[in-house]
Structure formats: C-alpha cells, structure tokens
C-alpha cells in the first residue's frame, strides 16, 4: 500500500539547527547569490517572513524562523 505514488507538490524543507534565511538559501538554492536566494525564500514564505518579531533579548531576536516551520524552496505551482 505504501508504494502508492504521490503527485508532485510544492517543495519544502524543515529548518536545521541554527538555520537562517541565508543558510537555507545557500543550501537549497546554491545557483543563486545568497542575497537573491534570501529574497526569493522570503517572498515564498510570507507566513514566516511577516511573523511578528521576537522580543529584544530573546534567543530568536532577528531570526523569525522556527524549528517547526515549513519553508518552501520554490514558488507556488501553477494551477493544474
């Protein structure tokens, strides 16, 4: 049963320890310059990019990415 083939869906990853936009961009979008990769990731992941900032002094300050996040590494797929 588990051999049933799944259709292709939008590609995503789960963050690794210490990940930031830049580390994800360098790892997942190696053909792009870091800043271009970061820009693309942020535009594809508004659910993370638009998140309310962590309070000052928080270990998360300056990095909105949570360990549980889904991070898309490609734009939305065109409707079938």
């Amino acid at each position: 049963m588990s051999d049933t083939k799944l259709s292709v869906v939008r590609k995503s990853i789960r963050p690794q320890a210490g990940d930031s936009w830049a580390t994800i961009a360098d790892r997942e979008l190696p053909k792009l310059k870091t800043e271009d990769g970061v820009s693309s990731l942020q535009s594809w992941n508004l659910h993370v990019y638009m998140r309310a900032p962590a309070p000052e002094g928080s270990p998360r300050a300056g990095n909105p990415i949570l360990p549980s996040d889904v991070i898309f590494i490609e734009p939305p797929m065109a409707a079938a």
Binding site: M1, S2, D3, T4, L6, S7, V9, R10, S12, R14, P15, A17, H47, A52, A54, P55, S58, P59, R60, L66, P67, S68, V70, F72, P76, A79
Partner: protein, 565 residues
C-alpha cells in the same frame, strides 16, 4: 427487568443502515436488548416520533478549564453530545507544574478567550500530573471525556522557560517521551500539537519550537499505544496544509497511528484550495496513512464587542493591540480620540464589504436600542457617518458593551461543505467547543447538521449524518464499545425529534466563574441524553445523573461507583 427502556422510537444505530422501529432496553450501563420489549423498567422514555441514536462524539473541543467547574460541559451535553475530546491544539491543563500555571492561563486566555478571572475564581489548583487532573475532573463528570495531552504543556514541563527558546536536547526529548507515556497510562487519548497558535504575548506557543525529530519521537510513543496525534496546521494556506498532512502521513505509516488535522475550511473565494488538500488526503490514505481532516458543519460567524480582542481584528495590528492590551478606559479613550478614530477607520478600509453588513445585536442604553437588529450600513446612513465610524461611535457610547455580529464569514458554500461532510475520508469535527467563548458559540454543530443539511437542504441522509458523528468518530479515535446502538455496547444515547432538532439562536450569557460571559446556543428538539445508561439530561428534567467516563481507557463507570462518590 431493565433499568431503562426507550420505547417506540426510530433506531438509527450509527452504522449508516436505514432506521427502524424498535424499543431499546438498558441494564446497568449497557444496552441489553433492541426490539419489541414486553418487560418493564424503573425508568421509561417515550420516543414516539423521535430518533434514538448513539450519543454524539465531538472530537475537537477545549473544555479543559470548564470541566473544572462544570462536569456536563454545558450546553454540549444538552445537544446530544455524550463524549468530548478536550486538549486540542497543543494545550491541555496537565501535566502542569505550579510555577507554570499563569503561563498556561495566559495561553488559554489568548487562544481560547477564557478570562483570567475564571481561573482565579473558578479553579482550585490541586493537580500537577495528568493523573491528578483526571482525578480532579472525574468528580461530577456527566459527559464522557477523551482527553488529549498538549505538546506545549509537555514541553513546558520538561524544558521550563527554554520551551519557548530552542529545540530540545536528546535527553529532554527522552524525558518528554516518558512524560507522554505517563499521560497515556493515566488516560490520555493522544497528543495534540500546533503550528499556528500564539501565547498571550503574541509569541509562538512552545510546541512551535520543536523540530521534526522531537515530534517524531513523541509519535513513536503514540505508536506504542496506538493513540491519536492531532495537529493544527496553517489552515489558511493549502500548500502549507499539504506539507503538514504529508508529515502526519509519514508518522502515521511509520508508527501505525491515527492522525487528524483541524480545521479544514471551505474558502468560497478559492474552492479549488480545499479540493487540492482533499486530493492529497486521498493519496495518503491510498498509501495506508490515516490523516483525517476535520470539517465543521456550521458557517463561520463571529460575534464581538470592543471590550475583548476579537479574532475579527487579528489581521489589523493596531486594532488588535489596543483591544488585547488596553484597559477598558484606555480602549474607550483611544477610540474617542478623533485622530485615532480616523486612523483606525483607515486601517480597516480594505474590508469595505464586511463592515456595512455587520449587525448590531445588543446595547445597554435606551438611546441606541433603536439600532438593534440593523446593519451598520443602515445605522451609518441614519447617523451620517461611515459604517466603521458608526461601529466605533456606538461602542464608545455603550462603554464598549455594544455587541455586533459578523455572520456567514466563510465556510458557507453549502454544496461544497456537504460534499466534504459526506466524504468517507472526512471527519466531522472542529467545533472548538468551550473555546473562543467571546467570539462565537461553539455549541450546536450537531443540531445544525441535522437541521440544515439533512432536513432543510435534504443533501444528506439522516443515517449517514448520525454515522459520521458516532461510529465513524469512535472508530477513528479507537474508542471501544461506543458509537453504535447494539446489545452489549455502552448505553450512550441521544433521543431527538428529526422534525425540530436544531441549534438555538446565539445568545450572550453570564455563566463563567468570576462574572465572566460567553456566547452559547441552546439545543432544540433534543429530548433525552443518556450517558452510561443514566439519564444525563432531558428537556423536561434538565441535567440529572453524572456517569461520565474518561476514554478510551475507562470503558464505563458503573452506576454503583458513581453512587458511592
């Protein structure tokens, strides 16, 4: 001789098979016989013209706090609901160290709108472990409870403040596994986690700091017990929902556990989105996974006043901030200031189609009674202002006690919603019973199902509707001996009139400890509700016997045991 006989009803037994005329006899806490019954009983219920069905099971509730002062989860029981699943969305009230109580109260206040004062005046904090919490709620329990344990709470128990700062170490994950085992041994029906909820400081709840290996490790423990994993995905986005359901599917297959995600809404502006999610659900079921989407029956209505931070304003930061963190005096002063009034009106200008159709439901002053029942469009025209300005002005005039209704905000495409409700891989649920108490009533979804989709629209068979909220739910959750009417099964039974069953009009009542209020709906057309063989509620007698059990571990509470307590 039986203890209870329900005579002359139409038995709709939860299997989906056609209803039939028969009597139902109960001895002790179990169904003893179904058919023509010549013997007599201590108690008899005349069900002529009525349906006799298994008690309904509500799989997504937040009655955790209410159960501390109300063992019937009112008014859920009166709607025919005999089993509730609290502890969803990563939040339960146990296990909970004394040092963490106020943090959790803050989360319940933010996410479920349960007032701080209700916890202060309605709760004696005499538990820490899950087992102690179960002991605490068991006294006076009139409804069955299948409680989930919340991932955020387990994280807080093990990691303290670090629960909202970082991922867990291997040792901490191992400790979380042990805590989860203790909770499951004590009666938890599974684990819940959340990918969207925020605490009272608008920061992510602890479960959102967990990495994939932590959730996987906890799912492995669920696999040891075959228990449920419930999640709240980013339900506003189909791609995110699919990513989450794929994660669930992997764990479901790997550990052979049932999983469920809630809610799944129909967005009338993008009906294709729900099809996209359901296609994925179908594919994952075909692989052997169990990933049950929960779909609610009712459309989205939001009631609100300026006195509380309504969900309606959550996407308008300045509105939400002042309502969430301002005192009543500060809120009044803010909106009474002409500059703020202008700025706040501009902030919500994008929803220009929403504000005119809001209805003023309730005010305190005589001067504004003439507007009650009218839309903001109509009131604005009479006052010579915009609808948003009318809403602000009346709220200030009423000391923030003007109540508005935003009806039919979504999930109101009947054709699409009923196609989901009937879908074999959809789980009817997501009522949120006991939550969002200051935004809308979360009671009566079952009445709405029967009244709207079965009786009025005739788009669903009565037998199918009953099956979806009884035996299907019991099977999905692994609740034994419930969900069907058949001899030997536990006698959890709802007797209702199919011609009149419905949910009542939403009303604002003050019945929360600490003079707190909430929106509720009474039941219509429900005659008698039986839990473990005892009449728990009837239209004539109100709330009666308290024989609720903690499921799935505790099959039933014997009447003698309840009497001894």
């Amino acid at each position: 001789m039986y203890d209870l006989i329900i005579r002359n009803g139409t038995v709709v037994d939860g299997s989906g098979l056609p209803g039939y005329q028969a009597d139902v006899a109960v001895r002790g806490n179990r169904i003893a016989k179904i058919g023509k019954i010549a013997e007599t009983a201590d108690k008899e219920v005349d069900a002529s013209g009525k349906v006799v069905a298994p008690g309904f099971i509500d799989p997504h509730t937040h009655f955790d706090a209410q159960l501390l002062w109300d063992g019937a989860a009112k008014p859920a029981l009166s709607h025919g609901v005999t089993t509730i699943v609290p502890g969803n969305c990563s939040l339960s009230l146990a296990p909970l160290k004394a040092d963490h109580r106020m943090r959790l109260v803050g989360m319940f206040n933010q996410i479920e709108e349960m007032p701080y004062k209700a916890f202060r005046e309605g709760v004696v904090w005499d538990w820490e472990t899950f087992s102690e919490y179960i002991t605490r709620i068991r006294k006076g329990l009139a409804i069955n409870v299948a409680p989930l344990v919340g991932h955020s709470v387990i994280r807080l128990w093990v990691m303290n403040d670090a629960a909202t700062e970082r991922t867990a170490t291997d040792a901490e994950i191992a400790e979380m596994q042990d805590v989860l085992r203790e909770c499951l041994d004590a009666g938890a029906a599974g684990l819940s986690t959340s990918y969207v909820d925020m605490d009272e400081t608008l920061q992510p709840v602890p479960s959102r700091y967990a990495d994939a290996r932590e959730v996987d490790a906890l799912a492995a423990v669920l696999g040891e017990y075959g228990r449920m994993l419930q999640i709240v995905p980013e339900f506003y986005d189909p791609d995110l929902t699919i990513a989450r359901l794929d994660q669930l599917a992997e764990m479901s297959i790997k550990y052979q556990i049932p999983t469920t995600f809630s809610p799944l809404f129909v967005n009338s502006d993008n009906v294709a989105a729900v099809d996209k999610v359901m296609n994925r659900v179908d594919e994952q079921f075909a692989r052997g996974a169990r990933v049950w989407p929960q779909v609610q029956t009712r459309p989205i209505d939001i009631s609100f006043s300026f006195a509380v931070p309504s969900l309606l304003f959550i996407r308008y930061p300045n509105w939400y901030r002042i309502m969430r963190f301002g005192t009543p005096e500060e809120i009044k002063a803010h909106f009474a200031d002409p500059e703020n009034r202008k700025a706040r009106a501009a902030e919500v200008a994008d929803a220009k189609e929403l504000w005119p159709r809001l209805v003023l439901r309730q005010v305190k002053t005589d001067a504004n009674q003439k507007y009650v029942g009218k839309t903001l469009a109509g009131i604005a025209a009479e006052r010579g202002v915009t609808p948003v300005e009318a809403m602000i002005d009346i709220s200030v005039e009423e000391d923030l006690e003007a109540h508005f209704l935003a009806a039919d905000m979504g999930h109101n495409n009947d054709d699409k919603v009923v196609s989901l409700l009937k879908h074999p891989r959809v789980h009817i649920g997501a009522s949120d019973g006991g939550a969002h108490i200051l935004s809308f009533s979360t009671y009566g979804d079952t009445g709405y199902l029967f009244a709207h989709f079965v009786r009025d629209l005739k788009t669903m068979r009565l037998e199918d509707a009953v099956k979806k909220i009884t035996s299907d739910t019991a099977s999905i959750w692994g609740i034994p001996e419930r969900g069907l009417l058949q001899p030997g099964y536990i006698a959890d039974i709802a007797v209702f009139d199919p011609q009149t069953v419905d949910r009542g009009v939403e009303k604002f009542v003050q019945d929360v400890p600490g003079d707190g209020s909430r929106y509720v709906r009474d039941s219509h057309g429900v005659d008698t509700v039986i839990v473990s063989g005892g009449i728990a509620w009837s239209a004539k007698g109100g709330y009666q016997e308290a024989r609720g059990a903690v499921l799935p571990g505790e099959t039933s509470r014997q009447p003698e045991l309840v009497a001894a307590e």
